[in-house]
Each structure stands twice: as structure tokens, then as C-alpha cells.
Symmetry: C2
Subunit: 177 residues, 2 copies
């Protein structure tokens, strides 16, 4: 079967955008695809699922954590540094999509990076435009730009209906991180 | 930190309900939690992500596929057989949640099993009621019953904004299966 590379967007204010993308990476890995994950935001945090993905045998899945952990806390990092890190991640994404080394590239939180003016919408559109036809491209993050949604094949909005924080329950290991 | 077991529901008509749950399993695995996945519907199908989860080292994650593959095609299986399989999965879920062998139990497509009258809403409420306080319970499937949503801590609705089938693109290996 010929592969049609899809442009997939997980957006919305709910949970599961990144988690579903990593679940997709898992599915793709099981189907022998080669997967690259570039994280645009969560640069200095450690996540259980990254540990787990790293535990998968072989070398078919790789993760690059770029960025400065922008969203989680005030780390004293300047906006200019965030922009620089995001640009670096963007250049990585351009180079890797043209390398034909991957069947799927996940650009985690790239929509969020645009929302916070670390990247331009046009930067993302350029990645989409340069995509080899057979490459699957997955873009996550809330508030995906309208022109990005326009170009996408599969768009899912994750909407928060209920959240435990609102009941006063603290973030739980293995759930929130 | 004391663990508060959450009741998590992924519902809605969009993609990513099961995928996000499996991504959550991955995260939990990376955090050394013990995870049991019971699939209520996809009994006779093979999924890339299950291959991948099975490739994780150790024995901390187990998957039980119950049910008769109800949704995918007409297999000639009678409704009575589907009900029997769903009941068996339900009994497994009761027994396992009380075994204290798991930190997280994922009841994949259990909402769908209720929608198709294989289970009763009260069956699901009983599982929720019997849950040990520290156990995380994840329930997936579209059209989650209102009383189940009522009991849940974290509810996310995955909404389809755009789907490639509508553009005439066929299901892709590593994406759809």
C-alpha cells in the first residue's frame, strides 16, 4: 500500500494533545515506522513517557528536546533565549524532514510556540510546504493557527470537560507528568 | 507524595481517545507504575501500539484483549456472544481492581460497550464504586454515559474537526492501525 503522509493536528484546551501524539508514535513504532519527536517547549522537564519511549528497543524512535521549558515556571530565561531555542528546533525540523530518515515527525507544542510568538505561523506553513509526500507530520499544542488547520488532513480538538485541579486534587505522578 | 487515584474519561467522536490512554500508559510506565489495559471491543485486531507496549522491558504493563472485534466488520458473531465477551471483560476488571496488583487500569472502549448494550451503565458505575482510592482508572470510548462523567475527575472530549477519509485518503499504517 502506498503511504500518504498525513498532516495531523492535535489542538484544544484539554489534555491528551501530546499524550495522543506519543501514543501515535507508539503505534507507528509497532508498525516499524521511524519516528522523530521534536519538543518545542518542554526543554528542561523529564516526562515518564519519554523514559518509556527511550526504553523501546532499537533506534527507530528518537526524541529531541529543544526549548527552555517555557510554560512550566519562571526560570529567569529571557524571551530572546526562548526565541533562539525555538528557531533552533525549527531548523532541526526543516533539516530532518528533508533527510528522508523518518516516516513520522512529531513537532510537539509547535502551535504553542507560535501562540507565544517564539515562531511565526509562516515558519510552520513552510515546514508543511516542504514536507515529503510520504512523511507523516504531527503538530500539537493549543490554539493551532487557522492557516495550519486549513492545511491539515486530520484535526482533533481536545476539550476539557472536567479537570481534577478544580476539585483541589494535586498533579499525580504518571498522570500529569 | 500520596497518590490520589483519578477517574479519567476520554470520550467524544474524534480520534485520540484510545491513543491518548495508551500514551498515558506509556507515561505511567516511565514513572514505574504498574498498568493493566483491558480492551472491551478490539478483540481480534492487532494494533501497532500493542506491539510496542509489549516490547517494553519487564512485566509492569499487561494487556488483555477481550471482546470480539465488534466494531470493525461483520464477523458473523452474534450479539449474545459480544455480550458474553464484554461480561467476561467486566468480571476481569472487577477482579483486577480489587487485586491491588495495578496502579492504573485502562478500560479501553468500555463506554462504547455500554452504548452498544453489551454492558449496563450500572456495571461501569460499580467498577468506579469499587475502585481502591489509590488506583487510577481510565475509561475510553465515545458517548460516555452521563453518570460516568459525573463520577469522573478528568474528562476530555476529543472532537473531530477534520478527517482525511472525507478527503478520500485511505487508512494509513501506523496512523489508523
Amino acid at each position: 500500500m502506498k503511504t500518504t503522509g498525513l498532516i495531523i493536528v492535535n489542538t484544544g484546551n484539554g489534555k491528551g494533545k501530546t499524550t495522543a501524539a506519543l501514543g501515535l508514535a507508539l503505534r507507528a513504532w509497532g508498525q516499524k515506522l521511524r519516528i522523530l519527536i521534536i519538543q518545542f517547549i518542554k526543554g528542561n522537564t523529564s516526562y515518564g513517557e519519554l523514559e518509556a519511549l527511550a526504553a523501546l528497543p532499537g533506534n527507530r524512535l528518537q526524541i529531541y528536546q529543544m526549548g527552555e521549558g517555557f510554560t512550566r515556571k519562571n526560570t529567569g530565561v529571557e524571551q530572546a533565549d526562548h526565541i533562539k531555542a525555538a528557531q533552533k528546533a525549527l531548523e532541526k525540523a526543516y533539516a530532518e524532514e528533508l533527510s528522508h530518515s523518518w516516516d513520522m515527525i512529531i513537532l510537539d507544542e509547535i502551535n504553542y510556540a507560535v501562540k507565544f510568538n517564539l515562531l511565526k505561523t509562516d515558519d510552520v506553513l513552510k515546514i508543511i510546504k516542504n514536507k515529503p509526500p510520504e512523511l507523516h507530520l504531527v503538530l500539537t499544542g493549543r490554539d493551532a493557527a487557522a492557516p495550519v488547520i486549513e492545511k491539515a488532513d486530520l484535526v482533533t480538538e481536545m476539550t476539557e470537560i472536567k479537570h481534577p485541579y478544580k476539585k483541589g486534587i494535586k498533579a499525580q505522578k504518571g498522570i500529569e507528568f
